[in-house]
């Protein structure tokens, strides 16, 4: 029995993320796949968790709206350089973004929770009660 190791766990997660790359689970569900910000979607029981990487975006510059089974994330990313600098290297990008994620289930929009920490935005999208399958009892 091999030892459980945190680094193996990370590798497993990286492989799982690779495996669902280009999955057609969302089909045409996301307006502008390949647009900023990149989105990963996970499942946790009856809740979908969308995780977006937006490092350097101020929380106040973020706007999140939800309707039916769509959620729209828009905002801007600014970088303030001090005056009179010489820039040696510039790899970070700035600009505006606007992306809509449509998921193949009804969301309980009043139950959506958003967390922004360490430059990643986590959106917890609970499945609407009306969307959950019901077991039919046979009389």
């Amino acid at each position: 029995m091999p030892h459980y190791h945190a680094l193996d766990a990370l590798f497993d997660l990286q492989r799982a993320l690779d495996a669902s790359l280009e999955s057609d689970w969302l089909r045409t569900g996301t307006a502008g796949a390949g647009a900023f910000p990149p989105i990963n979607v996970f499942q946790q029981g009856d809740t979908l968790v969308a995780i977006l990487e937006i490092p350097g975006v101020n929380k106040n510059d973020l706007d999140i709206q939800a309707k039916d089974n769509a959620i729209r994330i828009s905002g801007k990313k600014d970088i303030a350089y001090p005056q009179s600098v010489s820039v040696h290297r510039r790899e970070r990008l700035t600009g505006t973004f606007d992306r809509t994620l449509t998921v193949p289930m009804q969301i309980d929009t009043s139950g959506i929770r958003a967390e922004y920490r360490d430059g990643i935005l986590l959106l917890f999208l609970p499945r609407a009660e009306s969307d959950k399958p019901r077991t039919i009892r046979i009389n």
Binding site: H5, L10, Q14, P38, N40, L48, P55, V85, R89, R92
Partner: protein
């Protein structure tokens, strides 16, 4: 400059100099470096890294930055659709003797690490008076 639409930056993997013992991938954070009269500033994007998961060190005139991704965030989550991969971050910079290594300061906010490297006194520009 007018605001433009942001483009996705694909993560660059660290090029390995040695063979690694663990197979997990590590990424190179997107970095800005700029200089003012008083200091050199390095700004690095490491989404998902908390200040507690960060190591900044100087050894033999090389500045090393190591950031670990918060693995707990992903526990019990099953990926169904992905556009990016996650992993630790690593990058290093050779320091010139113009930098006062004892006075380097670091700040982490919204997944962005800002390192300020003050210049050594003798390296600051000096105006020469003409007699």
């Amino acid at each position: 400059m007018s605001p433009q639409e942001l483009q996705v930056q694909h993560k660059r993997e660290v090029e390995k100099k040695q063979e690694t013992t663990v197979p997990a991938r590590t990424f190179v954070p997107a970095t800005d470096i700029y200089e003012t009269e008083a200091a050199l500033t390095i700004v690095m994007e490491m989404p998902g890294t908390n200040r507690e998961d960060l190591d900044v060190s100087v050894e033999d005139d090389v500045l090393y930055v190591d950031g670990r991704v918060r693995f707990e965030t992903y526990e019990s989550l099953q990926p169904v659709y992905t556009e990016y991969n996650i992993g630790h971050y690593r990058r290093s910079f050779a320091l010139s003797n113009k930098v006062d290594q004892r006075k380097i300061s670091a700040e982490m906010k919204d997944g962005v690490l800002t390192l300020v490297l003050p210049k050594a006194e003798e390296a600051k520009p000096r105006r020469i008076a003409i007699a």
